[in-house]
């Protein structure tokens, strides 16, 4: 294993941070404090954390609608993320973006997108800038099995492979596009099988195992930095919650069985990582407990920060429209 104790613990810390953050979002939503939709990432934490552990701060990521986890995994600030979700001026986007549009350009988070697959061309373009501008960074885009069916994905993968761009296409296959199952929407067994159509490697990885995701991503990053072009990684994962908070109609539907959900939850990424650290002698039970307690306090602090942050003033409505004023 190339990861050391400090890295493994940091990965665990960030997985806990995502999990507890999402649990807090669900609680806030159920209390009526959060108005808009929010798409919990619970169950998929190992993908974001494993992938981002293979990146540098200067590397770029782009996400999707289910994207609270991606910026947190990249090192984002949970205070500003939570404040943004509550529409506060202390949020990452000063309350202009909300849950589906977290961004922190200072650490390479080029932002999330509510239109499924529409970040894929953006990340491809970031990689184009790296190549044309001889800049030392790679880009990585998170998208789902549903997004894999969009033309934007196809067009981007073709261009990226054609031009040997330093981009990693990270497909989080959680089995469902809202309620439509993978088998009802994708014509091949695996999204990663499609890589051969573009002449790039396709890698299938266990998305519940952050260490495995890190290893697969590290090889893709090595290729990208070496000028060898893009890689498509498909991480097999599972979405514990339903598509979006507040969509009770979906919650009550029967597109998947409770047995299936229960079975998937037996492979929870947090205990898998915790047990791996302990089994390999990288951490003790007490150390893991301490991390969990610290992160719980951190998330409590984030909720408090968000609640105390003021709403934007009406006078801010027209701010941030133009980079070159008119």
């Amino acid at each position: 294993m190339t990861l050391d104790k400090q890295q493994l613990e940091e990965m665990y810390r960030r997985m806990c941070r995502i999990r507890y953050f999402e649990e807090a979002v669900i609680e806030i939503h159920s209390s009526g404090e959060l108005i808009g939709p929010a798409h919990p990432y619970i169950g998929e934490e190992a993908v974001a954390v494993g992938a981002c552990a293979a990146l540098r701060d200067s590397d770029r990521i782009a996400g999707n609608h289910r994207s609270h986890g991606h910026p947190i995994a990249k090192g984002g600030d949970v205070n500003r993320a939570m404040a943004e979700i509550l529409g506060k001026s202390g949020g990452y986007c000063k309350g202009k973006g909300g849950s589906m549009h977290l961004a922190d350009f200072s650490i390479g988070i080029l932002g999330e997108s509510g239109i499924v697959a529409s970040s894929v061309p953006i990340a491809t373009g970031a990689a184009l800038a790296a190549k044309l501008g001889k800049q030392d960074f790679v880009s990585l885009v998170f998208f789902g099995d549903g997004a894999s069916n969009q033309g934007a994905c196809h067009e981007s993968m073709n261009m990226a492979a054609l031009w040997d761009l330093p981009v990693i296409f990270m497909c989080e296959n959680n089995g469902y596009a809202i309620t439509t199952s993978y088998k009802n929407s994708v014509s091949v067994d695996h999204v990663s099988d499609r890589a051969s159509a573009y002449g790039m490697p396709g890698v299938l990885v266990d998305g519940q195992d952050a260490i495995a995701v890190h290893e697969a991503t590290s090889e893709a990053v090595r290729r990208a930095r070496a000028g060898e072009g893009p890689t498509l990684i498909e991480a097999m994962t599972y979405r514990y919650e339903d598509h979006s908070l507040g969509l009770d109609r979906i919650r009550k539907s029967e597109y998947r069985s409770q047995d299936e959900v229960d079975e998937a939850m037996k492979r929870d990424p947090l205990p898998i990582h915790r047990q791996a650290m302990i089994a390999h002698g990288f951490a003790t039970e007490a150390e893991c407990d301490a991390i969990e307690a610290e992160v719980h306090a951190e998330i409590d602090g984030a909720v408090e920060f968000a609640r105390n942050s003021p709403f934007p003033e009406p006078g801010e409505l027209y701010d941030d429209m133009w980079a070159t004023p008119v």
Binding site: A103, F105, G114, P121, A152, M159, M321
Partner: protein
């Protein structure tokens, strides 16, 4: 002063901006062979990395241009009005919204050079004049040069602007010639035309004619006819629709009391509609007659040469509209 065609002006602006700034590059379909005429010789001059022939993937490469612009590059994308529809998701959902949505973190210095072909028997799929659609899309600057001088000066401003700019190259003006100074004839050594500053093409006293893009030439041709009849028309070319120099239009209407707007777009929710609404709201008491709009008929572009010319503005229609407001 030398005269140049509209296409030459665009080509000159592209070369000058690429020479000035290494982060400027061009991408689009068939650029290296210069299928649309404005990119001839570019690849020999700047190399394949800066003159990129893309696959036929407008949504993909519009998005790639936007993504590259977030990371320090300044792409010039060449495309055609009708292909904007193909790349609409990236253009609207990302290009127009990222900056605002991310609280001002994003800068998107992309210039889309959009060739606007019409009135040449190309039928409904290749004759779109769709700039008004983007006026209804906050977050995009809309540039509509009517002549070679403005094409060069506005294009250079667009490339230096840090927001998404759509520059509509009017197909009926492409081979028209205008005096365009060489850089050594200019005090600053280069030609830059600012956004949001209308051009008073000619001064007059009895009617204001606002022309959009190719509509400006129709206004000029109509004004000659009217002048022979002793009618004095003032012609205003807004040059950019976003930002729009409404003050110049209102000031002119305050002087003449009458307004005719010539717009090659379809008339419903056109640039002309917006200008008419502004003048009705803010300049109503200056008006001596109802505003007249000369825009394209609200019908798809037919192919037959017996039908297509019927739908567009013409100098004759402009003259008739002026007679109506003077009646």
């Amino acid at each position: 002063m030398p005269t140049k065609t509209y296409i030459q002006a665009i080509a000159e602006a592209t070369i000058e901006e690429m020479e000035r700034d290494q982060s400027v590059f061009t991408m689009g379909e068939d650029l290296r062979q210069s299928v649309y005429g404005a990119t001839a010789g570019l690849v020999d001059r700047f190399g394949e990395d800066r003159v990129i022939d893309t696959p036929l993937s407008e949504n993909g490469f519009f998005g790639a241009a936007l993504g590259a612009s977030l990371c320090g590059m300044r792409p010039i994308v060449e495309t055609v009005t009708s292909f904007l529809w193909v790349g609409m998701d990236q253009l609207v959902s990302q290009g127009s919204k990222m900056r605002y949505m991310f609280g001002g973190q994003a800068e998107l210095p992309v210039t889309f050079r959009v060739r606007m072909f019409y009135a040449r028997g190309a039928a409904a799929h290749h004759s779109d004049r769709n700039y008004p659609v983007f006026m209804n899309t906050p977050g995009i600057k809309i540039v509509c040069p009517s002549n070679a001088y403005d094409a060069k000066g506005l294009m250079k401003t667009a490339v230096r602007d840090n927001d998404v700019c759509l520059l509509f190259e009017d197909g009926i003006a492409l081979s028209s010639r205008t005096e365009v100074p060489d850089n050594d004839e200019l005090p600053d050594g280069e030609l830059l035309v600012p956004f949001g500053v209308a051009n008073t093409v000619q001064s007059g006293t009895e009617v204001t004619i606002v022309g959009i893009a190719g509509g400006v030439q129709h206004a000029i041709d109509a004004a000659k006819v009217l002048d022979a009849e002793g009618i004095s028309a003032e012609i205003i070319d807004p040059r950019t629709l976003v930002p729009l120099d409404k003050e110049s239009i209102l000031k002119s209407v305050a002087k003449t009391g009458r307004l005719v707007i010539v717009d090659p777009a379809h008339k419903m929710c056109s640039a002309a509609s917006e200008i008419a609404a502004i003048v009705a709201q803010e300049g109503f008491w200056d008006l001596q007659a109802p505003i007249q709009v000369v825009a394209s008929e609200q019908i798809n572009v037919p192919y037959s040469p017996a039908l297509e010319p019927l739908i567009y503005p013409t100098p004759e229609k402009v003259v008739d509209a002026v007679r109506t407001v003077l009646d």
